[in-house]
């Protein structure tokens, strides 16, 4: 009663933090009721909660006792799973070490508990009120598309990709992809890739089935009436069989030796494309996921993509690409407002 009365009188301060590749961006919004009275944004050349960042946040949070600090989950070990049933989750991961939450009783988003605690500990000096999953932000951003389309939805962040496949509002597949693995992580990835190949070897029959699928795809693609494109598909399929490992390893090796990221959009877009391609292959091949053919991809662009990613996806994967600009900080802010109701 008392708090509600004062809550209406006070300004609400929403502080949104995004940790990028080399910077921390803080976006602050002052709200009186539903109206935004002031907003501020500042980028700090650091990855930790330095004195300057802390002072900047404290300066704004001191304006009102009703302040809410939101952060985007940056854990590598996060994702989303179809259904809200815990028994269903067991098919995909052991959920016990993850913090999971159900999105509108339709699907589950999760992250590693220890990462969650770590980030809370790291930001203990200013405190955190909300930690949002990029999948939830993506789902809210493309709400009207997800409910009626069967498509792939990708949130492109500075160094992450949050990829999900929805069929009329039902989540089929989701994966969180880090563009810049550390060395040991890269080794693990290579091992994973080896395992994938192992699975391919084990499941030779499935390769035959894929061939059949490919034929079906070719059948579908006959509508295009372009034989050259079909040839290209064959080539891609060939990649996916044996040359894939080499190409994957080459890509990873290209990426990891120095961790230095090319400032040119081209290489980053190619990396993103590679990750999407790998992920889509994983989705198609893994029998755990309900397989649907992806024709459309909706990309939430939070970084300002060049046109290359679109071209790669269109030319190499024959996807209809729709890119929508997203201001991630504003989206987070509106999520925090929604969360408060």
């Amino acid at each position: 009663m008392f708090d509600k009365l004062f809550g209406a009188l006070y300004l609400k301060v929403f502080v949104n933090i995004i940790v990028g590749r080399t910077t921390i961006t803080v976006y602050v919004e002052y709200c009186s009721g539903d109206e935004v009275t002031e907003s501020f944004e500042k980028t700090f050349e650091t990855l930790n909660l330095t004195k300057a960042v802390e002072e900047y946040i404290s300066l704004h949070t001191a304006e009102s006792p009703y302040f809410y600090i939101s952060m985007l989950d940056k854990s590598q070990f996060q994702g989303a799973l179809p259904s809200c049933n815990a028994k269903e989750h067991a098919k995909f991961i052991d959920i016990s070490s993850y913090q999971a939450a159900c999105y509108k009783n339709a699907w589950t988003y999760y992250t590693l508990k220890s990462d969650l605690l770590l980030v809370q500990k790291e930001y203990a000096r200013v405190g955190l009120d909300f930690i949002f999953s990029p999948f939830v932000i993506l789902a809210e951003f493309f709400k009207e598309k997800i409910d009626v389309h069967t498509a792939m939805f990708v949130l492109v962040e500075d160094s992450f990709l949050s990829l999900s496949v929805f069929e009329n509002g039902e989540l089929l597949f989701a994966e969180h992809l880090d563009m810049f693995y550390k060395e040991e992580a890269a080794e693990l990835l290579i091992e994973d890739a080896m395992e994938d190949i192992g699975i391919n070897i084990d499941l030779e029959n499935s390769i035959d089935l894929e061939d059949i699928d490919a034929d079906e795809e070719l059948g579908d693609l006959e509508d295009f009436g372009d034989i050259e494109d079909l040839d290209e598909i064959d080539e891609i399929d060939e990649f996916s069989d044996e040359k894939e490992l080499d190409s994957l390893m080459t890509q990873k090796e290209e990426k990891h030796p120095s961790y230095s990221v090319s400032s040119e959009g081209f290489s980053e877009d190619y990396q993103r494309f590679s990750l999407i391609q790998t992920s889509v292959k994983h989705f198609y091949k893994n029998p755990k996921y309900k397989s649907v053919f992806i024709e459309n991809v909706y990309i939430a662009d939070a970084v300002g993509l060049g046109g290359d990613l679109k071209h790669y996806l269109e030319d190499e994967m024959f996807l209809n690409v729709h890119i929508r600009k997203m201001d991630l900080l504003h989206e987070m802010c509106s999520m925090a407002k929604k969360e408060l109701g």
């Binding site: 708090d3 009188l9 989950d73 939450a101 955190l128 009120d129 909300f130 999520m335 969360e339």
Partner: protein, 173 residues
């Protein structure tokens, strides 16, 4: 927790500044209330004292009236006492005068002092002694004087002298 992994921290409008403000106003209101209570108490005490003083004054007035009455009564008593004393002094003087009047040779056996008279009983050697030595002064004092004698065995005479003062004659003087 619809979208977030964690629940927001509990927010309260009671910031240290607001707490300080509340503390200040609380203390102020407390002091005002205490002052008001003190004034009420003092007012109550004053009313009580006033009632007590009024009652005391009424009692004193009553006591004063009583005292006045007593003073009047005492004054009357004093007047009476003075009167009695005066009377007694007069009486004493009269008696002393009376006994001074009685010569050595006459012996009084009884004297009755009346309001307006004197009755003397006594023994005299003879009638002449009585007439010259006692009857004459008595006659000069009283307006009316009567004497009667009867003899004793030894030859002396018992006498009864009855003397009166007439008030009419006194007023005339």
């Amino acid at each position: 927790m619809k979208f977030s992994y964690i629940a927001p921290r509990k927010k309260s409008a009671l910031t240290p500044e607001v707490q300080l403000l509340f503390a200040f106003f609380s203390v102020t209101f407390f002091m005002l209330f205490m002052t008001y209570a003190f004034l009420l108490f003092k007012d109550y005490r004053f009313s009580e004292e006033k009632a007590s003083v009024i009652a005391q004054r009424e009692n004193l007035e009553v006591a004063l009236e009583d005292m006045k009455k007593r003073i009047v009564f005492i004054q009357k008593e004093q007047v009476l006492a003075e009167k009695v004393f005066t009377g007694n002094v007069v009486l004493k003087d009269s008696i002393a005068n009376l006994f001074d009047l009685v010569p050595q040779r006459i012996t009084l056996s009884q004297a009755q002092i009346l309001q307006n008279g004197l009755i003397l009983y006594g023994i005299t050697p003879n009638r002449d002694v009585y007439n010259f030595m006692l009857h004459a002064p008595l006659k000069s004092i009283f307006h009316r004087s009567y004497s009667s004698f009867y003899p004793e065995e030894n030859g002396w005479l018992r006498f009864v002298s009855t003397n009166y003062i007439d008030e009419e004659k006194l007023n005339e003087n």
